[in-house]
Symmetry: C2
Subunit: 443 residues, 2 copies
């Protein structure tokens, strides 16, 4: 009897939440970007909720926004992922730890080594969210005048991945004999010198650390472009997607799983986890009120700028407390414009509310009771919209506590989510095989 | 009344010890390079012993030695410093955490950010051991064919340091107002965009993390050349030196402190901590036996190669169990040759013992009882040979336990070492001032 499919749940974290109004929410920790104790508490709560992984987003520059918006944004400062996740490794026992690392602005030897080290320190819980870094300001912090061209970034990413995984395979799993009597520490015939000389990278190796506990840390990818999806289909084991609706999710799911078929990869060797904000109430009404409350904490002047961009039309002249007026079509992104109009209609939002919604967190959201949220998640899972979710919380700690204390038990009751971790590693949680070593067959 | 001068003690760590025979010593952990639990225990023992800091050495390649020596060496694998020290931050409360990071093979933005993050996570306990990386094999792992020339490395290091410290000063200490009512997260007039454009680096900034708890993490330097000493005098707050005798130490101490005078820096703004192996016994005889025992675990074939290099003469023809024969002078390093001959004479060593001594750990060592070791350390301190030591243990955990349980109490009894940490930060332990922000006066 095969096990029924279950959801995989990641938590996509910024220390103060993804939502830009979150730090002002009653009971939130406005200092979470500077205070490790809060982060430790969040990770421990996620582990209590049996989450697959704590995902740490990352940016290699202060986010690129006008100073009047920036000065109101908690995103200006954050912990660096490797230092944060290593510290969290010591404060947790089972939850996976996924760090974002850029293939455009770091060296493969460093990246391979840090992930291997995190994997050893955490007992096999590391994952690498491969990004090519889209923020053009990052280039200016790394000696470049301009951002590297998009497809060039992805070509480098592919080679970078080959080098990193090759370095992880520097030693066979059984290389380290540590024979105290003879004095042999490792068997040199079980060490491989990579000697990579490619178009972009030249890296000799071997890596100066043993093969990771998981063989390779779990490979995660978030690219949305054609090049991004293809890189994911070739290399990723988890995709972190962004969709607006179940129908979008199903299209993406079919697209990517179809690419796996073509590549001869098993469909369940890659889990698709769309990002979703999750706002929990005891009634649907209460959940909507919480959402409205955190949205209302987004500064209106900044919010109206976001709305104007989405609409391709200056929204600052509209009555903030009236409904969205009819506006002529423009050259702006058609999909952004249509989404904004549909959102205002569906949730009956004023101009102010719509602007603050988009300025706070404009992406996909579950807003409801434990039962309605579990219903929706179940529908995504059974109708092949996703293999789970990468969840974001509207404010911390309460938004996270609500999910773990109320929604997780409902998912468990339905058999949709684990009650206990089955193994110690992130690969165990995700049901992913341990990769074999490309240079050494098992002894 | 001014406080009497006290010793500062760091522990210079590799997971299995510096000594190449250590992993074979009875009771040692041959798997410490892969097992974080051992490292946690070492750090907690050092903290119990009130050490100033845990220093993590680092190399960006497998150490450059013939495969027949390498296969017997535990140095082939190790944890990466940032991941290790961040994990140790969570397992300790007071001890300083000094990571080695290279100015030749990393980017200033990454280095600034990781140290700032470690400093926030640890509550102000981070230090940066600035190295220019002398192992030529590192270059091959980072896309270069040849190692960069020595003085060029130091010129880059100086500019690298300016960029990193400038990035740490991106925000005034009081920049983050986090005013929930008005929605102002930080005061933009208290943020500085570095806009560095130098000979080697071009880095815009600001850093995307708040100013470190210590203002700047403590700056440590280990260079021994003229360029290295001058960089240290200009920038370092701790020097990690390597001497063969108290007289050497005094010369170095006078040289470097004299450079501080010329630069207008206070003499106690830079602490000089020579490296020293420390082997503790209940009698001097017992300490010597422990040392002989760990030396005897060094493979003889490798050891004799080290001795031949030191002597500039093939030592493999000598009777291993006889005394060192007279040998003609050669073109080899005169100082290495003289040291080897003097060592054999002083400790009455056979050829085998001398070879294994040099192959295990050839540097300066305290070998004796708690009383004789405290006597020697006191002499170094009062005669201006050093401000303390960066200690290495011949084997772990026992060599470390012996020092903390037996020598530390003796030093404390004499008033030469703290009984309690006085403050929470590494700067507090070392008696170093918190640097002011170069762009912002305190509010
Ligand atoms: C949900 C999600 C999370 C992402 N997180 C990060 C991140 O933490 N850091 C980053 O540089 N890029 C991040 N990205 C950006 C992606 O890496 C990628 O650049 C973006 O999705 C555009 O895709 P494309 O580059 O394939 O066009 C994220 C993207 C998505 C969809
Ligand atoms: C006690 C001691 C410890 C050192 N630790 C490291 C280290 O961990 N990593 C490294 O690359 N170099 C290390 N070095 C090397 C120094 O950074 C430096 O390259 C070496 O002392 C030669 O000095 P010079 O470069 O000024 O000639 C160490 C040196 C000493 C004396």
């Amino acid at each position: 009897m095969s096990k029924p499919r279950q959801l995989h749940l990641g938590a996509f974290m910024r220390p103060v939440s993804i939502h830009t109004g979150a730090w002002r929410y009653p009971g939130a920790y406005p200092d979470a970007n500077f205070n490790f104790n809060h982060l430790r508490k969040f990770a421990q709560t996620l582990e209590r909720g049996k989450f697959d992984a704590f995902f740490m987003a990352d940016h290699l520059a202060v986010l690129n926004m006008p100073i009047d918006a920036l000065k109101r944004s908690h995103t200006v400062t954050s912990f660096e992922p490797f230092t944060l996740l290593s510290a969290l490794a010591g404060a947790t026992e089972r939850i996976g730890l996924v760090a974002t690392a850029s293939t455009t602005f770091d060296a493969p030897y460093h990246v391979a080594r840090r992930f291997a080290s995190l994997d050893h320190i955490s007992g096999g819980r590391a994952g690498w969210n491969i990004v090519t870094t889209s923020n053009p300001d990052a280039a200016l912090n790394f000696g470049l005048d301009d951002h590297m061209e998009h497809d060039e970034r992805y070509r480098r990413a592919r080679e970078f991945y080959d080098v990193v995984t090759g370095l992880w395979d520097s030693f066979a799993d059984d290389a380290f004999v540590r024979d105290v009597t003879s004095g042999l520490f490792f068997d040199p015939s079980r060490m491989h010198v990579l000697d990579h000389k490619g178009k972009y990278y030249s890296v000799r190796g071997p890596l100066n650390i043993a093969r990771p506990v998981q063989g390779w840390p779990v490979i995660v990818q978030a690219g949305a472009s054609e090049a991004g999806k293809q890189l994911a289909a070739e290399t990723a084991e988890v995709i972190f997607a962004a969709h607006n609706s179940l129908a979008d999710g199903q299209r993406f799911y079919a697209d990517v799983k179809g690419r796996l078929d073509k590549l001869g990869r098993a469909r369940d060797s890659l889990k698709i986890l769309p990002g979703a904000l999750v706002v929990v109430g005891d009634t649907v009404e209460e959940a909507r009120e919480k959402r409205a409350k955190v949205d209302s904490l987004v500064d209106y002047a900044n919010a109206i700028a976001s709305l104007s961009i989405a609409l391709g039309h200056d929204a600052s002249k509209f009555d903030p407390d009236g409904p969205l007026p009819d506006i002529p079509e423009s050259n702006a992104s058609k999909s952004g414009r249509e989404r904004a109009i549909a959102l205002a209609k569906r949730d009956n939002l004023t101009v102010r509310q719509l602007a603050q919604r988009l300025g706070g967190f404009g992406g996909f959201a579950f807003v409801g009771t434990p039962k309605t949220i579990a219903d929706e998640m179940e529908e995504w899972l059974v109708s092949e919209g996703s293999d789970g979710f990468n969840l974001m919380f509207p404010f911390l700690p309460a938004g996270l506590d609500d999910f773990v204390d109320k929604v997780v038990p409902e998912l468990q009751r339905r058999g949709l989510f684990r009650r206990e971790y089955e193994g110690p590693t992130l690969r165990d949680h995700l049901g992913l095989a341990r990769p074999s070593n490309r240079f050494f067959a098992p002894a």
